[in-house]
Amino acid sequence: MTTATFRIWRGTGNEGSWEEYPVEISEGMVVLDAIHAIQTEHANDLAVRWNCKAGKCGSCSAEINGNPRLMCMTRMETIDTSQPVTVEPLRAFPRVRDLVTDVSVNFRMKKSVTPFTPRKPDAADGTWRMKQEDVDRVQEFRKCIECFLCQDVCHVLRDHHKHDEFIGPRHFVYNAALEMHPLDVADRTSDLKKRDGIGYCNITKCCTAVCPEHIKITDNAIIPLKERVVDEFYDPLTRLFRIFMPKKQEPAATPEEIGKVIDG
């Protein structure tokens, strides 16, 4: 068994300091295990979020040696332990305590997006039909576990603090999932351009690089959304290689029609 030194940012709000703790490393251990060991042995008030311990809930985001990562999916074997291992809270959000940040802005950003709006049911049995190949792309976006690592790494939020003008990569993925949903008929392009700040994204792809769900955020979500915005606001004829076609304008299902879908 080897011992590693962890340097952890400890403090309340912006007041705090780096503290060092020794941790014994055993086979298969992940960074979150080390944090728990520190909690049990040295500091039972060390604040950290976690739930699933298997990369499924997106709670345990932090910066490990400066890289935004899920602590539960970062194996100690992949880290150089000859140096102290630093663990600090996400930088794009206000600090609460130790490794916990206030990520509530993300929940507000999401709420501002026009929700799912299905078209009228059109299958004989009063529901809808969707082909698997037509939902593959949307399912890629719906894998998002809301870890907000992409938000953390994006310079528009991290360095320029444009939280009020830019909803960030996570919410472009959310928009894309809605816009490309075969049943959805709402149009979010104007919001994307005017309110959500999609123009600030200069396609650095840093968000894609950190996504633990391997969602191709930039190529599959942001670029097609940008194209849609361009189509709508500039010259629709110049776009030759559209990734997806503008939506047909269709009426949405009424609450009564939705009620019938449900009752079968």
């Binding site: 039972n44 739930n51 298997a54 999916m73 609460v96 305590r97 509530s104 039909r129």
Partner: protein, 605 residues
């Protein structure tokens, strides 16, 4: 010292998993003001981890399926201790709840003709689980969350309820602290819905997160509700066993649904060696037939790996005990063998089981398209819970409702996989509807200020231990180890009595649990407060188990390894007596309606 903020709602929902979210949507839709509190951030509840799918007899993948078969399967799986009316409502209403999720934006995997696809799962006669790869829970919780945030209820994230409040006999609200800064909050409400999920953290090896401390079970019990069937824990047969840091993390039954087989160290498919009588007529007797079932041959019967979880878990324990286990004390789960049957087998595995592929690759360094997984039982689900009215989900405490994993009844002695996600939305909706109706007829209750002071004082106690304080994490670990050893998958009279004594000592230590004096996001403090709930729930489990002198479903008693007919006529119930001690009794199962009995008999043929 009293300082807290007061909030008033018609309906208060505690818990934001599938059950709580669905309840809040319904109650809000009925025009009541609704508050929703949860311990984690929105969208992180246990439901997010569910993998395999959601059971509903839609008949999309097999048109022979209908509600009556689903009902009969649920009752057989629960060994007939289920609340049969709940099992009936669940089977009838689940398809509508799946379609509802689709109408709210969920994107389930599709059949060739564009309908919602359904997969095989243990104990279900037909292909019945609507799913999204192996991340169905994520799809469910995200759909409810994204729909719910536009329904007008108010969400309090990272708030923990420490006690329920009453006004005379009826419910009056709840008292909570907010995790971020440790401040107290009083939630006054006309009705309260508990949707707090499970109790897995009573055990060392579990698929449950830190949240699964049985808070709702303990809160309701202390508020006077009746608990039922608490001896029935589900030990899921396939948890990861290696490396140690991931021990207990779930490997979805979907692996077996897609053709995964269980093998011992000799390479033998040991599940063929012991098939219970109730299932012989629907279980394959050779490997070829088992595979044909997997690929949808309607003439073929299910492979024995898809027997109910209680049985599969016990067979694994037997193999390990008799020395035929894997190197780290489990058995082998092999999905890569399907490459012999399918030429694009590797791709098929990655497509159908993407999270499992990643989970093993990243956490275990195992490529499941090439190597077998090592798996063993893990504490997964509690069948027992708050006893509720089958239609309305109200407990015996007026105005106190429960839904989801924390409510008892639907699953009897053993839950079928996939029956939980459907349970959450079927009964979450019902609880929301009836809690709203109830609230509409009530005035705002009065709160007893003295009681609040008492609760506050109790909650702050971990800051006031001087000198003799104990580390709450250590007490929690000791409790988990004790329960694992003494009240786990194989039980004996001796071990259970030992557990009962041990709990007394652990309670004494818990009263001395101490925390650093800083109320901002302080896990030591939070853990100290969770201990009361873990201890109450552990005691319910042990007291219920000790008196069930037979083996049935999730309860395996080594001194009484057979099922006993007489024991099949009652449910265990637990209540708190006037002096605060725990009392256990037997409650006769009401006679089943004749038409339902005929359905059961029809399906036994």
């Amino acid at each position: 010292m009293s300082s807290y903020q007061t909030h008033e709602f018609d309906v208060l929902v505690i818990g934001a998993g599938g059950a709580g979210l669905r309840a809040a949507i319904e109650a809000s839709g009925a025009g009541q003001s609704v508050g929703l509190v949860c311990k984690s951030l929105l969208g992180k509840a246990h439901t997010v981890m569910a993998e395999g799918g959601m059971a509903a007899a839609m008949g999309n993948s097999d048109d022979r399926d209908d509600w009556s078969t689903h009902f009969a399967d649920t009752m057989r799986g629960g060994q007939y201790l289920n609340d049969w009316r709940m099992a009936e409502l669940h089977a009838k209403e689940a398809p509508a709840r799946v379609r509802e999720l689709e109408a709210w934006g969920a994107v389930f995997d599709r059949t060739k003709d564009g309908k919602i696809n359904q997969r095989n799962f243990g104990g279900h006669k037909y292909r019945r689980l609507a799913h999204v790869g192996d991340r169905t829970g994520l799809e469910m919780i995200r759909t409810l969350q994204d729909h719910g945030i536009h329904q007008g209820f108010e969400v309090f994230m990272e708030y923990t309820v420490v006690e329920l409040l009453k006004d005379g006999d009826r419910i009056a609200g709840a008292f909570a602290y907010e995790r971020n800064h440790g401040r107290f909050h009083l939630f006054k409400a006309k009705s309260v819905i508990i949707a707090t999920g499970g109790v897995g953290r009573c055990y060392k090896i579990t698929s449950n997160s830190w949240e699964g401390t049985g808070d709702g079970h303990a809160l309701a019990y202390r508020a006077g509700a009746t608990m039922r069937d608490m001896e029935f824990l589900q030990f899921h047969p396939t948890g990861m066993v290696w490396p140690p840091s991931v021990r207990g993390i779930l490997v979805t039954e979907g692996v077996r649904g897609e053709g995964g087989i269980l093998q011992n160290s000799e390479g033998r498919r040991f599940m063929f060696d012991d098939i219970p009588d109730a299932y012989t007529h629907q279980t394959a007797d050779n490997e070829d037939e088992g595979w044909r079932y997997i690929i949808g041959d309607k003439e073929a019967r299910r492979p024995p790996e898809l027997l109910t979880r209680d049985h599969v878990a016990r067979c694994i324990v037997r193999e390990v005990r008799e020395g035929r286990g894997s190197p780290h004390g489990g058995v082998f789960l092999n999905i890569h063998w399907i490459k012999e049957q399918l030429k694009d087998g590797s791709e098929h595995i990655k497509k159908k089981l993407p999270s499992m592929y990643h989970q093993f690759m990243e956490l275990g360094g195992v490529d499941i398209t090439k190597e077998s997984m090592e798996v063993g039982p893990t504490t997964h689900y509690v069948m027992g819970g708050i006893q509720v009215d089958s239609e309305t989900q109200m407990s015996i405490v007026p105005g106190l409702f429960a839904a989801g994993e924390c409510a008892g009844g639907l699953h009897g002695a053993n839950r079928l996989g996939g029956n939980s996600l459907s349970d959450l939305v079927v009964f979450g909706k019902r609880a929301g509807e009836y809690a709203a109706k109830y609230a509409a007829d009530q005035s705002m209750p009065t709160i007893d200020a003295g009681r609040i002071e008492e609760i506050e004082r109790h909650a702050l106690r971990p800051f006031e231990t001087d000198g003799d304080g104990e580390n709450p994490f250590e007490i929690q670990h000791d409790l988990q180890n004790m329960m694992q050893e003494r009240a786990g998958i194989v039980r004996t009279e001796e071990n259970l009595s030992f557990a009962l004594d041990a709990l007394v000592g652990l309670r004494e230590r818990a009263s001395r649990a101490s925390a650093y004096d800083n109320r901002d996001y302080n896990p030591g403090w939070h853990t100290a407060l969770d201990l009361d709930n873990l201890l109450d729930v552990s005691e319910m489990i042990v007291r219920s188990a000790i008196e069930r002198r037979e083996s049935r479903g999730g309860h395996f008693h080594d001194d009484y390894p057979q099922k006993c007919e007489q024991h099949g006529t009652w449910n265990t119930v637990i209540t708190m007596t006037g002096d605060g001690s725990m009392q256990r009794a037997e409650q006769q199962i009401p006679a089943i309606r004749e038409d339902l009995q005929s359905i059961i008999e029809e399906n036994q043929k």
